[in-house]
Symmetry: D2
C-alpha cells in the first residue's frame, strides 16, 4: 500500500529572501516515487505558530511519515538531525519579532526527543546517490529545533505510529554570491529529500553504521 510522506519547509527568515527548504518543498508537492506519495506544507518561521501549522497539516493529511526541513547556513551537507532539545535560545528575532532566551518549548516536557526517522540509513542512501550527507547532533536552538521538538512531542502524545524528524539543508548557490559560504544546488537538495522520504517510508529499522556524523 502506498505510503504518504508529509514534507514541510520554512519561509525565509533573517536577511535571506529565499529559503531553500521552501523552494525544495515546492518542487516535491504531489510527487510520487514508486509507492511513496509526497504532500507538503509551507511553515512560517515563527515560534509556536510553526508547530501549530505542522500539527494541523498532520491532522489533515494523516501521513505515515513527517519530515520537517530547514536551512542551516554554513553546512556543506544534507544533515538529518538526531535529537531535539527542549529550549528556545534565539540570537535573532523570528518573523514575528519573538526572541525567546533560554525558555522551555514545552513546560515539564522531557529534556530531549530522538528523531524517529532512520537517520543513519537515510545518510547511507544519500551518500550512495552521490549526495553529501551526515547525521547532525544539534539542530540549534532557533525555530528549527523548536518545530522539531514540538513535532516529536505532538507525535508521542497523539500519533506514536507516525515517524517524524528534521533535516537541515545548506544554502543554495544564489544565497552565497556575496559571502563565501558553502552551498548545494537546489536539484541536489530536492533529489536528496526524495531519497530521504523513500528511505523513511520503507525502512523498518535504522541501520547501525560507523561514521556518517558531523564531528
Amino acid at each position: 500500500m502506498a505510503k504518504k510522506v508529509l514534507i514541510t519547509g520554512f519561509d525565509p527568515f533573517g536577511k535571506d529572501i529565499v529559503n531553500p527548504a521552501l523552494e525544495a518543498v515546492k518542487k516535491l508537492e504531489g510527487k510520487k516515487f514508486d509507492d511513496v506519495e509526497i504532500v507538503t506544507q509551507e511553515v512560517p518561521t515563527v515560534f509556536h505558530t510553526s508547530i501549530k501549522v505542522v500539527t494541523e497539516a498532520i491532522e489533515k493529511h494523516q501521513p505515515d511519515v513527517v519530515i520537517c526541513v530547514g536551512q542551516a547556513g554554513g553546512r556543506t551537507q544534507i544533515t538529518p538531525e538526531r535529537v531535539a532539545i527542549n529550549v528556545d535560545d534565539a540570537r535573532i528575532p523570528d518573523n514575528q519579532q519573538n526572541q525567546p532566551i533560554d525558555e522551555a518549548i514545552v513546560e515539564d516536557g522531557p529534556v530531549a526527543y530522538w528523531s524517529t526517522l532512520p537517520v543513519k540509513s537515510m545518510v547511507h542512501h544519500l551518500k550512495e546517490a552521490g549526495i553529501p550527507a551526515a547525521v547532525s547532533n544539534s539542530a540549534g536552538t532557533f525555530v528549527c529545533n523548536h518545530l522539531f521538538y514540538g513535532l516529536m512531542n505532538y507525535l508521542e502524545k497523539n500519533a506514536p505510529h507516525i515517524r517524524g524528524g528534521f533535516i537541515h539543508i545548506p544554502f543554495i548557490p544564489e544565497q552565497t554570491v556575496d559571502n563565501n559560504a558553502p552551498s548545494l544546488g537546489l536539484d541536489t537538495i530536492v533529489k536528496g529529500l526524495e531519497v530521504a522520504a523513500v528511505v523513511a517510508a520503507n525502512e523498518k529499522e535504522d541501520i547501525r553504521e560507523v561514521g556518517g556524523t558531523i564531528s
Copy 2:
C-alpha cells in the same frame, strides 16, 4: 565557607600524544582562588571506565561542583556544553579498543540531561576576561559526551546538590603545527578554566543572555 571544585581531564586519545585537557588540569591541581579550592582527577579515555573514575573521585573529594574537561579539536573557543545525550556513537576506538555504535549509555535513562553549571554566566565572564568562549549545544557522541551523560545521571541519583557539567577546549598550538587547525594557548585555557570554576562555585543562578552560543 570555601567551595571545592573537582576538575577532571582526559588522557590523550587517537593520534594525539598530549591532551590539552589533562595538561590544563595538572596546572590547576591544588590551586586556590579566593574561596574556591581546586582538586583534580585524570580520566582514561575509555567508555564506562571514565564514568567510574569520576564518580569515585566525587565520593572521595565531596566537591560542590564537578567540571569535566575534554578536547574538541577544530573549535576556536572554550565551550561549556549545554546538554548531554544518551548515545555512544564512536568513529574511532577509545583507548581500550571499544567502539560502540548507536548504543545507549544508560539503558532506560532519559534521552538527555542539561548541564547544571551556569553555562551562560561562565561564557559571559570568560569573554569579559578576554577569552574566546561560547555555549555549545553538542558534546558529540564519543567519550566526552559519554562521561558528561554518566556524570549527570550519577549526580541526579546520588548527589543532586552537586553542580556538574562539561567544558570542551580547543587544541593547544603544539598539536597543530602540521594541520592548520585552530588552537588556544595552554595559559589561556588554564585561566579560562579558573574563571569557569569560580563562576560555577559562586553564581547561584545562570543568567539569560542573548547570543554566546555556537550556531
Copy 3:
C-alpha cells in the same frame, strides 16, 4: 565575427577519481553561445607536459581566448585567478610521480604574470547569474599554477593578442560524500564557465570594482 574560446580541463589527480574541471569541459565541447564558439582540450596533471599539451592546442585551434580550468578542493566559489607565480612547490606527486620543490617553472622568467582575462568583470557577471564567484590571488604552487604560468609565458612570447588565464572551481558533490568539504553542482560550474567564456570573448577592458576577491 565569431570568437573562439579554448577551455582546458585537467584529468583527475591525487586520491580523486574524477576531476570536475574535466567533467565540465567535456560538457562544453563544441557549444556555441551567440558569437562565441567553445573548443576544449583535456590536459594531463603533469608538470611541463601540461604546458606542452595546451600550447599545441593553441597552435591547432588558434583561439581568441584561452581559459585553463582546475580543481581547488575546499573552495566554495568559482575563482578566476589574478596572478601566476614562477615556482613549483608540490606537496604531492603529479600523475607521473614528479614532485618539484621550490623550483622555477621558467629559468630567468619573471617572478609572476597577470592573467589577461577580465577577472573582475567575469566575477561580476557570474554573481549576476546567481553563481558564487570571487577573484583569487593565489593559484597555489602545484600543476594548476604551473600551467597558468606556462600559458602566460607562451602567450607573451608567441601570441600576445590571445587573452589567457586560469579559473579554479570547487569540488562537485560526488567528491564530498565522505569529507564535509564544500562543493558546487556540475551544472552550476558548466553554466559559470559559459558565462566566463562569453565575458572573456566580448569585454574589451576589465572593470574596476570594489570587492569580489577572496580575502
Copy 4:
C-alpha cells in the same frame, strides 16, 4: 658580529582596536638573542605612507634584515609570505580613507617580488619550537601586500644586501571573543617572531622542504 633585525608592526585598522602585530613588535623592542639585536618601528596602516615610514627606519637603523609584520584575521598560523604583487585592491579604506581599486603600487614595477627571507627555514624552525606555521602564497591586496611590495622594491634598488620580507600573524584571543575566529596567544606570536628573526639573521640559504605551505 651581531646582526641587526628591524621588525615593523602596523597600528590597528578597520573595526579592530588593537593590532597584534604592533603588540608583538612592542614586546620585541631592544631585545637581544645571542648575536641578534632587534629594533622596531610602528607603521601606519596607510597606503604609501607605510612604505615611507619603513624606508626611513631602514635608513636610520641600517639593519641586516627587515621583517614587516601584519595581521591576517582568520588564519591559524604564523605565515611568512612568499611573494608580493604589484596591485592595490582594497575592500575597506585604510586609516586615511584611501581605497585604491586595482591600481599598481609602483608604475612600471615588476608584477611581483619574492621575499628574500628564508621562508621555508623559518617555518621549519617555528614548527620545531611547537609554533603553528606555514608559508603563504598570498599577502592579499591591502596595505600588508602594499608595504611588502614597496619594501622589496626599495631594497632591490637601494640596498640589495639587506634581506626583507613579510610575516602575517593571526588574531590574538582578545580580538575573537565575539566572532568564533581562530587566534594565537600573544606570547606565542612574540616567541615566533623571535625565532623567525634569528633564522633570518643566521641562515645563509633557505632550505628546500616538502610541504609547510597553506594550500
